[in-house]
Symmetry: C2
Subunit: 310 residues, 2 copies
């Protein structure tokens, strides 16, 4: 029997991503021991019932003790305090990483607490569902998705290679990127999409002339798609926006400018401007389906039966 | 053998919705003869290969001749001209309906052409996929979805009851509504969601600092969801926005106002405002899933395996 990639892995946070990592590690035999940390007793109980961890802790120092890989997987606003708290218990030669959706703020908040002799490599697996909590994780979450590593300049190459191999063994493709560029890319591919989804669901909820019952009944016209990502974890997403302010505001500015132009095209009946945009956007959908990043089945496969092939 | 609900049904337009109606009528045995009309030869050829129509026509008067039910199912901008063209061939006692996503404009454009003795009942089945064309239709499209009828004041009650029974036999639930209210409800549940989806895909395409390849690779962060509806038929959607201008601009104004408030909350680090909105929006998702209008499975069921139950 070959020995696992890591003797011990500590998951500091065992929600959707942390628990999915545990399942993926089990599937590939990547860890001799999986330790999980959560602040609340009920989260630990839920994780215990799922059985994906070898040990569960409410003391973060105990969770990380002797760990070869420590992964922060709580909302990003809590990273700094947690890192400060567990830093004295870190093993020499260990890798500290995370799964946060922002990266510059993680470098800023976690970096200063990492002791000499410990490797710090921020990471972001771009995968998820609208669910949260230890029960929501599953081994296949990262299959075929991308994980972005943002190692600070001078990071040990061997440690980066190890973390890359770890994510590949969890099913991911891996890219290396500068944290600032990561934050801009994710602002357009994830953060602003979530923001406008949350926003339109809020707008619908606030309209006086349309009832909530009507919004629900007729949501298959398109609205329902937005409610899925607007059902994502509120704490996680609050922290994303508070910690990627500049990139989000920059992309949001562009979005609003473009929307004003569309609004004007509608007001003045400029059908060509509308038609041209609506044609151009089809190509990106095709690119995403061709790259295996979304289902090719119509309606995400939600219809009871697929259309007959011609 | 019982006789079908209609001796002959004419589908003026045989794209996604028209062809799905043909399949649903066949499934329920609702029509003795299904006639299809399309302007272009290649659309007629594609429909012929699918086999869902008993006769296919490039002359709209021939298609509607002797029909008991005539359904306009082309982009709404073409309705007026088509109705004017087929009006002289309509049978006395026939029902003329449509499937357009706007209703006030249909009353305005089609109503004046309907002869005495013919029943005019606009309708809108709220169902669809991002695909288009005769090959994309399937019988189950309307199952469990809502169809809204907007009969003008004074419409024959028997004709309304017949059209209601028709849509119920196609699998739909049926509501009756005022066309102006329909247009406002659909602006929030369908039209503005499509507009902002098209818009963000356009914004992503235009960013200089993020490549199209990056947008595609990292789209699983949320962006990919928007690309589905932004791949919908450009002509159909151009006509929707040109023909529901007032309601779309009203809802869009509210959306933009709300988005400005969110933008301000991000700029000033108001985490409570963000958290409160992100919590409120979860309830609407639950309502939609509970009402059977969307899948309860995480990620619309796109993951290779469902999460284990706790």
């Amino acid at each position: 029997m070959t020995s696992p990639m890591f003797g011990k892995v500590a998951l500091v946070g065992i929600g959707l991503i942390g628990s999915s990592m545990a399942h993926a590690m089990r599937r590939a035999g990547l860890a001799g021991h999986i330790a999980g940390y959560a602040r609340r007793e009920e989260t630990l109980d839920a994780a215990r019932a799922c059985g994906f961890a070898d040990s569960l802790h409410s003391d973060v120092r105990e969770a990380v003790r002797d760990a070869d890989l420590v992964v922060l997987a709580t909302p990003v606003g809590s990273f700094g305090e947690l890192a400060q708290s567990f830093a004295p218990a870190l093993k020499q030669g260990a890798i500290v990483s995370d799964v946060g959706s922002v990266k510059s703020a993680v470098v800023r908040d976690v970096g200063p607490h990492i002791p000499q002799g410990v490797h710090f490599i921020p990471a972001h697996p771009i995968a998820g569902t609208e669910q949260s909590g230890p029960e929501s994780g599953f081994a296949e979450l990262f299959d075929g998705r991308w994980c972005i590593l943002t190692p600070p300049p001078g990071t040990d190459e061997g440690a980066v290679a190890t973390l890359r191999a770890f994510w590949e063994a969890c099913g991911s493709n891996v890219d290396i990127m500068d944290p600032k560029h990561h934050d801009l890319v994710l602002a357009i591919t994830s953060h602003v999409p979530h923001l406008i989804a949350y926003n339109i669901v809020g707008t619908a909820d606030d309209l006086e002339a349309v009832t909530e019952g009507e919004v629900i009944k007729y949501s298959a016209g398109g609205f329902r798609d937005f409610t899925r990502i607007a059902a994502s974890d509120p704490t996680m997403w609050r922290d994303v926006f508070l910690n990627n302010r500049d990139a989000v505001l920059e992309v949001l500015g562009r979005f609003s400018e473009d929307l004003s132009a569309l609004q004007r095209a509608i007001r003045w009946g400029d059908g060509d401007a509308l038609f041209n945009l609506f044609t151009r956007t089809r190509a990106i959908r095709r690119g995403i389906v061709d790259a295996g990043q979304d289902s090719a089945v119509p309606n995400f496969g939600r219809n009871p039966k697929l259309p007959p092939k011609p």
